[in-house]
Amino acid sequence: MWMTELPAFLPFFIGAFLVLMLKGVARAAVMLAIPVLGGIHLMLIPEGLHWQTELMGMALTPYRVDSLSLVFGLIFHIAAFINIVYSLHVKDTLQQFSAMIYAGSAIGAVFSGDLLSLFLFWEILAISSVFLIWARRTQRAYNAGMRYLIIQVLSGVLLLVGSVFYWRTHGNLDFNGIGLEGTYGWLIFIAFGIKCAFPMLHNWLTDAYPEATPTGTVFLSAFTTKVAVYALARGYPGTELLIYIGVTMACFPIFFAVIENDLRRVLAYSMINQIGFMVVGIGIGTALALNGAVSHAFNDILFKGLLFMSMGAVLHMTGEINGSKLGGLYKSMPKTTILCIIGAASISAFPLFSGFVSKSMVMTAALEEGYPVIWLLLLFSAAGVFHHAGIKIPYFAFFAHDSGIRTTEPPNNMLIAMGIAASLCVFIGSYPWLLYSILPYDTGYNPYDATHVLAQTQLLFFSALAFVWLNLKGMYPPELPSVNLDVEWFYRRLIPDALKVTFARIWRIDAIIRASFMRLLQSLLNFISRHEPDGVLSRAHLSSSMVIWSTLILAAFLLLSFI
């Protein structure tokens, strides 16, 4: 059947070019149809290698379908659809074109069966996504996008170099388990780690995502980091180092999230925290843990997307996103408020909401495999998630003190997109078996036993109690217009400052050298100049001597011509 030959990313790339040619309703129809048809197509495809080709003697597999890539492929189609609905009101060809290319390249990346194809999609992912940041069309967004692009392209370069080393060692480019052996293992690991926002490599995410357009951030939150999670799950399952990296990612961002003022930046920090859970799952590497990581990625795309959509709606309608300037919006945006609370309940992993059925798998796996300290830290960050994403986001945007802002609900397409995401969050949370059936492994896991539900509910309600208590005591840090220093300080402040000082010094030395050279030259000129009585050029020459010299030259010339 020719249909199976059609790689899943191709419709998105074709769609992107149709976007350029079509206008209005036709453009919207094409953009909506592609993820729907593509998603249905994907469900009909049997597992296997569907496209193999050869480049200069290297076997390449740009299209491989198996249970792991299929889960990511499906959620990317769902996310693309929801995000396109969410951005239907946007009339900006640049954003629509780059969003289609971006979604397509994410899908291409998860179906890549070799490292070269992966690298190609990895780079298209970086380049297409930066336009969603630049589309904000402010100097600030331009600068943030530039930093984002440099870091993303660096990740691609590391991947390429790693792939070359891999090919030298193995003689092929097949993308399967890689492991931390040899140079190639570490190079590719760091390349994935940059995109996955490993600690110290994470700041591009919190720097750039909040600077994108309201709709652009929603697209960004779905794809880049989840492609990296997929790549880690494919290349490094069971790598113990990932457990410690993951638990760090789960813990440190929540502190930043509590004191951050820009609510989309709070969500960006909370995104690193959620990816931390996935990375721990990949690091543990058992069937249950990997299922947990994959399903948590699936759910995170939905609930984090929903939260970013609700904050995007707030930004779109009020022009404000800082917690210090918002509050009381439940009065004019009640529907958005409820949808945001559903997203908040899902990310906090309340029973019956989607986070619960996936996060618990990673936690259970950590216990079963004998990592009690890791488990305790994950439990702490699970409580922390509720605190900063579950309570802080809805509370400071929609409740808290009334900011006096009166607006209306966002456009219908935004509400519909949030409604779809919210329904999926509740559906997956209440009936997880459908999601479990598409996971790579069959573990027979059941999240809904009494122990589990009670433990999680106690944890969450007492976290809420802590919030209330701190607030009533006036100990809760108020939202303040501020910037909090993070790793980015090194490349946004320290290095530019150091360069500035260094260059200022170099220029000063350069100026001194030039000046003294000029002085030297001047005195030399003075020495030979004709204004000085003894100057070389100030001697008087007779015109007759000139005639003699030219005669001599002509005579010499004549002589030479005879020889």
Partner: protein, 105 residues
């Protein structure tokens, strides 16, 4: 936590009435109490000894969150800068270039 907004009158929103806020807080306290009482009723399957402690999850959640907030608040003392901390630097960049151009001449 939220519900439909009944009136169009500016004064009639749900949480403008402090009584409603109190009701919600009371409901929260009630649920917390019930959850702790349930600890006696439901037998939990545990992996670790620490889980067997009475109301372990409740205490851990509460203490964890309080510590989280207090540490984060303390972090503000050395991490917090003005809102335009980076902007100042980055918008100054072209000017500093001009300066250097002068030095160069």
């Amino acid at each position: 936590m939220s519900s439909n907004q009944p009136g169009t009158d500016e004064k009639s929103y749900l949480f403008d009435n402090p009584q409603n806020v109190k009701r919600i807080l009371k409901a929260l306290y009630g649920i917390c109490a019930i959850l702790v009482i349930l600890d006696f009723v439901i037998h939990r399957h545990t992996y670790l000894d620490i889980e067997k402690l009475f109301a372990f999850y409740a205490v851990y959640g509460f203490v964890g969150c309080v510590l989280l907030v207090l540490i984060a608040k303390w972090m503000r003392t050395f991490l917090m800068r003005d809102e335009d901390y980076y902007l100042k630097q980055e918008s100054l960049a072209p000017e500093s270039k001009k300066e250097s151009a002068h030095v160069d001449d």
